[in-house]
């Protein structure tokens, strides 16, 4: 089993037009520690400093909560870590594969599994093995969805983006998950960084095979030995935003700069 070691950097800088008196953020910007990843070092902080707590959520994601109550006009959120990412072999099986899972077969807030049942039925007809099904699904999604920014947003459901026919990586991932779940294959949403010069966070999919959770990237058409660095997993986007918070101010704020970096270090 191959294993790659990465040094990871994530830094977001926010600026505000008026003074901010309270800035409370929930962060999922540390590589996942578990499954095929082993977290070696982590360091999360903000400038200005705030009140910081850390916990693992119901999916095992490492979550930081940082609240800054000292008045400020800008906020930098920074995470520096190193992680070992193992590549897993995808063990194929003949359909129906009877793979159990308590959580990742159900509909979630952004993914309505029932809606994708007719599509799943068709794809199952032309798929003999799990590998067939996964590849056919991704092919199907890439034919029906065009990559285009600015049409959908974070609250767009899988059904909506599918009907619109356009979206970004979040939508590609959610539609793929919708179809896989409807076909009886547990699938989960993954947020993190690609390992070849990422410029922002990316969303992809992991499905459950007889050998465990295996990654696929429908947006970039990549399968199985991907070795991306995952930060968080969940049922859909709502479980994985890298930064989600509220700030209190008389004026507006915006993300001025996002710096991400993934560097091999072995």
């Amino acid at each position: 089993m191959d294993s790659l070691k990465f040094h990871v950097l994530y830094e977001a800088k926010y600026e505000y037009e008026d003074v901010v008196t309270s800035n409370d953020n929930t962060l999922k910007i540390v590589p996942y520690d578990g499954d095929n990843q082993e977290l070696l070092e982590e360091n999360v902080d903000t400038e200005p400093k705030g009140y910081k707590t850390r916990y693992k959520d119901m999916f095992g994601n490492i979550v930081y909560r940082i609240k800054v109550i000292e008045p400020h006009y800008s906020l930098v959120i920074r995470s520096e870590s190193s992680v070992n990412v193992k590549l897993k072999e995808m063990e194929d099986c003949m359909l129906p594969c009877q793979i159990e899972d308590e959580m990742f077969l159900n509909s979630s807030r952004l993914i309505d599994v029932d809606y994708f049942k007719p599509i799943a039925k068709e794809l199952l007809k032309s798929s003999k093995s799990l590998d067939d099904l996964v590849k056919n699904t991704v092919e199907f999604v890439r034919n029906r969805l065009k990559y285009k920014e600015g049409i959908t947003n974070v609250d767009t459901s899988a059904k909506e983006s599918f009907e619109i026919g356009m979206g970004v990586c979040q939508d590609f991932a959610q539609v793929t998950i919708g179809i896989l779940r409807a076909s009886g294959i547990p699938a989960r949403y993954v947020m993190g960084l690609v390992n070849d010069n990422p410029i922002s966070t990316h969303a992809w999919v992991e499905f459950k095979s007889p050998s465990g959770w295996i990654p696929i990237d429908p947006t970039r058409r990549k399968f199985y030995n991907i070795a991306y660095v995952k930060f968080a997993i969940g049922r859909d986007y709502y479980d994985t935003p890298p930064i989600l918070g509220t700030f209190v101010s008389k004026g507006k704020g915006w993300l001025k700069k996002l710096t991400v970096m993934v560097r091999r270090i072995d």
């Binding site: 009140y51 916990y55 693992k56 609240k67 308590e102 509909s107």
Partner: protein
């Protein structure tokens, strides 16, 4: 015998008990009883006894047939609530000092009421909650706790006002005598004890007349001679907090907060609190203790802290990860959404149609971590004067505890006929309660 419109013959009717005999015969002897009920409610509305719903001021209906609690019952419940209050303050102190008691940290820290800035902070005298609102029901006379309220428990003024109006209009017609209880006195004492200064300046922080419980804020301000201030009246100065009054800026020692959103309504106040420039009652961040999910763990928490459970609570558990058999199990329970205000977000599955049930279960399946399930209690019913008839209805009891000291001003809320949901926002009535 007075005629009662019954809604559920099987439910236990408290008023059939021995200690209600005198009261019931009083009711029989009062001619035009419902005219007095109407008068009381007219007076109530005009004296501002209302609840703002977001659109209009709805009058809080008073059902002037008092509920009676025997002295011995009161004493026993008090003991139980005292230990529960102690457990809650200890739990808060432990959690906010890094000692995770029983409840998994991700459940606490995902609560909207968790405040990271309270970690490591020592509130004055180690007390987080000075005023508790404990919701109880009786099942065949045995008390059960349904909910803890430790952020901004309200309703004590309703108990006092309902008593006051009943006394004014019907006082000389009842042979049983009651009183308004010692709530106001205990409240003042408690707020005063929240500061080390002798004769501290206390201000009630309201967000104004559009707050649903504004009546209560004004009531306490009037009766206890406390400053009534809004967020715009608060000034954070170097080393102190002052409030703007008609006589200029006044230094304040204790803020009795009746708002939750301090971050955006009163920027800078949290900072002042953490530096010890002012005390806030109840402390910010106490909401993790009255979270519906935390409630499920209370018996274990009390055991862990070595505190005996005085009053029982119905079996409750967090729904967490969905499993098929859990859905079978919760079919006849009460399902509560973690962030439901008042009575919204409470689903009595037993009383719902198949279609409504399906809808709720679908929501639960999508995000099971947002829900908990609780044993459905067929709690005791009372006789309520509504409109022009006597009805049988479900009613609860809200006790007010002041840092381990139980008050005798107790509120009983009656659910609308046919419902089991007793919260103020659900349009029920309030009854005066007499300890006899």
């Amino acid at each position: 015998m007075i005629k009662i419109k019954r809604t559920n013959k099987a439910s236990f009717l408290e008023y059939e008990e021995e200690h209600y005999k005198t009261l019931l015969s009083d009711l029989e002897r009062i001619p035009d009883f419902f005219k007095y009920v109407q008068l009381i409610n007219e007076l109530a509305y005009r004296e501002g006894f209302t609840f703002y719903t977001g659109n209009y001021y709805r009058s809080i209906k008073i059902d002037p047939i008092p509920r009676i609690l025997k002295k011995e019952e009161f004493r026993k419940i008090s003991e139980g609530l005292k230990s529960r209050a102690e457990a809650i303050n200890k739990f808060l102190y432990s959690y906010y000092h890094g000692d995770k008691v029983v409840v998994p940290e991700d459940l606490i820290e995902t609560s909207p009421y968790f405040r990271p800035e309270m970690m490591g902070f020592d509130p004055p005298k180690g007390i987080y909650v000075y005023i508790f609102g404990e919701d109880l029901v009786k099942v065949k006379g045995i008390p059960y706790i349904l909910e803890d309220n430790v952020r901004i428990p309200s309703g004590m003024s309703y108990a006092i006002k309902a008593h006051e109006l009943t006394e004014r209009v019907l006082g000389d017609k009842f042979s049983v005598k009651g009183n308004e209880g010692d709530g106001l006195e205990k409240l003042k004492k408690t707020l005063t004890s929240a500061s080390d200064t002798r004769d501290p300046v206390i201000a009630i922080l309201t967000d104004g007349t559009l707050n649903s419980a504004y009546f209560e804020h004004k009531f306490y301000s009037d009766k206890l001679n406390l400053l009534l201030v809004e967020p715009s009246d608060i000034n954070i100065r170097e080393g102190e907090v002052t409030v703007s009054t008609l006589e200029g800026e006044v230094h304040v020692d204790v803020i009795y907060r009746r708002i939750e959103d301090l971050d955006f309504l009163t920027p800078g106040l949290m900072n002042a609190y953490l530096r010890g420039w002012v005390n806030i009652v109840n402390a910010p961040g106490t909401g993790i203790a009255d979270d519906k999910i935390t409630f499920c763990f209370m018996p274990q928490i009390m055991e862990e802290l070595g505190i005996k459970e005085g009053v029982k609570q119905p079996f409750s558990f967090p729904i967490g990860t969905t499993r098929e058999d859990i859905e079978e199990k919760i079919k006849n329970m009460v399902v509560k959404k973690r962030e439901g205000y008042g009575g919204s977000g409470t689903f009595v599955l037993h009383d719902m149609s198949e279609e409504e049930k399906k809808k709720v279960l679908n929501e639960v399946r999508k995000s099971p971590e947002e829900f908990m399930a609780q044993e459905l209690l067929d709690f005791d019913t009372v006789i309520s004067a509504i409109g022009d008839s006597f009805y049988q209805a479900y009613a609860d009891l809200r006790f007010f505890v002041f840092v381990n000291d139980q008050s005798t001003s107790i509120l009983s809320r009656v659910a609308p006929v046919g419902s089991r949901v007793t919260n103020n926002s659900s349009g029920g009535l309030v009854k005066p309660l007499w300890i006899v």
